[in-house]
Symmetry: C2
Subunit: 393 residues, 2 copies
């Protein structure tokens, strides 16, 4: 299967998860599972929007003298002091701002005429009861939480967070903090992919570092496929003696693809176990990360009710990029802007075994299967990896 | 003070907070407090990057017959089977891929010649010990966590999260879930601003809803200014009898500005209490939100070691926008793209008392103090409020 077919097949295999109710205060970034209709008017009553005096606009001729009263209703020739947010007394249709009035004992002298509706927020003028205010599928922003709370809602139905199992394989992999014996390397995949999974709005089910031992690995994989909505493994995805994940997929589930014509990430396998998708990524962090970005992230987001459209900018290639016909390359580039034009410069090191150049890249240029060479000066689409400005925590 | 002066004054009053050590696994989105130098080489030893046979490239003439041995070193005419990630035996300088070799008993026949360094990752080729890999001020991305872990680091020094106190004032404000009596409204500010504060990478210290009562409010404000790095209040920021926050600022601290010439958000006050900045925002959620975005967010981000540059796009105004000379307006617009051009259409309702139109806006057009009118067809800068694609949780 080609890269695009694998992605399409994976996306077709999953559906957005079921809904759950969560407190409104914790719902930022969650995806609405159903439309929300306003249960009440907003504001729930007609309110003054400034400090001053409620009155009938028809009484507010300049120099008019009104009787100051207190209460929930007023009549002709009367005015009631109100503060911002107060209910407007019945009978009133405008607010005269404090600075436009002069108080003389029990009376008020109008210094500026007002029109009906002046400094008044009518009941339901923001939202009418029954109105649809938010659509299913909306990613909840802080302001949406404010609206929901304004209706008095304490909970909201959102798509459940996907549970993503992460299994790092490799007998040579040890946890940071341990002593590094010869031939051992520290686990770089757990922190990298855990953080990426969380950023997709999903939960991480961590299964730790698993040795390259068939029965142990199979036990963990089967358990993960039961407990999670999606399984991601790293390492052991090639076809050597120690590459057990594709074998287990083949024997206990369904191996749908293996050895994609992509760079980096080629020894990736993809299949199904216990009805759950399994992505077996390379053990090299740079390759695992790129294939996560390209194949796994869109699937996690679909499970979570979102659609992934990676940010793309158009740029001019600063150097010739060589690829191989029939292979899809993801080339690390740095971006720069000169004379109003964006330039993409391929980084010198593109190897799967090198992470720093990926961590320093601003984006990836995707060279499709049919292209062998992108000439210097040609226009390219760059998948942007870093957000400008600041990043959400 | 004008809007820009208030922002400058506030930014000048705060410094980035001190550092703290946190586990690498929890450091995504945090800001590095100091440069990180690699404590070890990465990879820590020279490794095979493919499955196959380690050998001396000079021995790999096509058809050559090599003796298969096992061990940590090899000599002339010898080959050692290796799997991806294995240490390269001493004496070897290349890997012959399995598919390019034929095994005949104790011997190997070379099917394709290899050059020195083929399918080998040299010790330190990714990062050399001592090399500076990350600069202070970096917002940590998932891949950075992978690098740190690759060095065996378990903790990293980052800027402490700012603690932001949130105080919602107003005797008429009740919590969602309670019964709504006449004249009462539900609290929309706590959920909205809490979520925004969290998004800035800060912690929220919530002080609940406080009645418009001088001594109680003063007690809470003083306590908040002791416990937090920054204090945000909503409501009671105007100059009526119930508007106590500016009074308390004046009497117990320092009131630096009040009634800014901005729309929405005019009755905002800004000052200092116990050496901490206090932003007293309007009680109307739309106004509070805009002033939070314009004045408070940049300050929280500076405390947290980040610099705020809101995303801005250039667009063509679809309608004439009227403002008042001497006032800075933040006009809610929706964006659309037609014929390769971006258009900004002002929403009909711009009132502080209306939240839905802000929740539906794509951006804000900032009309500076010296401008009374932006003609339809004029180019405007739009501060973008929503991220396209998906949002980080």
């Amino acid at each position: 299967m080609r890269a695009q077919e694998v992605l399409n097949s994976a996306l077709e295999s999953v559906r957005t998860l079921e809904a759950e109710a969560v407190p409104v205060c914790c719902a930022a970034g969650r995806v609405l599972a159903e439309d929300v209709h306003a249960p009440i008017d907003l504001p729930p009553f007609t309110r003054a929007t400034m400090d001053g005096y409620a009155l009938r606009a028809v009484d507010s001729g300049r120099g008019a003298r009104l009787r100051l009263v207190r209460g929930e209703r007023l009549g002709a020739g009367e005015a009631v002091p109100v503060a911002t947010g107060d209910p407007l007394p019945r009978g009133a249709d405008a607010v005269l701002r404090r600075e436009h009035a002069r108080v003389e004992g029990e009376h008020l002298v109008v210094l500026r005429e007002v029109k009906p509706g002046r400094d008044v927020a009518y009941r339901g003028e923001d939202v009418r009861a029954g109105e649809r205010v938010l659509n299913a599928g909306t990613v909840l922003e802080p302001l949406h939480l404010g609206l929901l709370s304004g209706f008095g809602l304490t909970h909201v139905r959102v798509v459940r967070r996907p549970r993503v199992a992460l299994i790092v394989t490799g007998s040579e992999v040890v946890e940071p903090g341990e002593r590094l014996e010869r031939g051992r390397v520290y686990d770089m995949n757990t922190p990298t992919l855990s953080a990426e999974i969380l950023r997709c709005g999903a939960q991480v089910l961590g299964y730790g570092i698993v040795r390259d031992e068939y029965s142990e690995l199979k036990r963990v994989l089967v358990r993960a496929s039961r407990e999670a909505d999606l399984v991601v493994t790293t390492g052991g995805s090639s076809r050597g003696e120690r590459d057990l994940v594709p074998k287990i997929l083949e024997e206990a589930g369904e191996k749908r693809a293996h050895f994609l014509a992509i760079k980096p990430g080629k020894p990736m396998a993809y299949g199904v176990l216990n009805g759950k998708l399994v992505f077996a990524l390379s053990g090299w962090t740079a390759a695992a990360w790129v294939t996560f970005e390209v194949f796994v992230k869109p699937v996690i987001l679909k499970l979570g009710g979102m659609c992934y459209s990676p940010p793309v900018v158009e740029a001019v290639a600063e150097k010739t990029i060589r690829s191989r016909r029939g292979r899809r390359d993801f080339v690390r580039v740095v971006l720069s802007r000169r004379n109003g034009c964006c330039y993409a410069k391929p980084l010198e090191v593109q190897r799967s075994s090198v992470l720093l150049s990926l961590a320093r890249a601003h984006g990836l240029v995707e060279v499709p299967e049919g292209v062998e060479r992108v000439e210097a000066g040609a226009r390219v689409q760059v998948r942007v990896l870093r957000n400008a400005g600041y990043t959400f925590p």
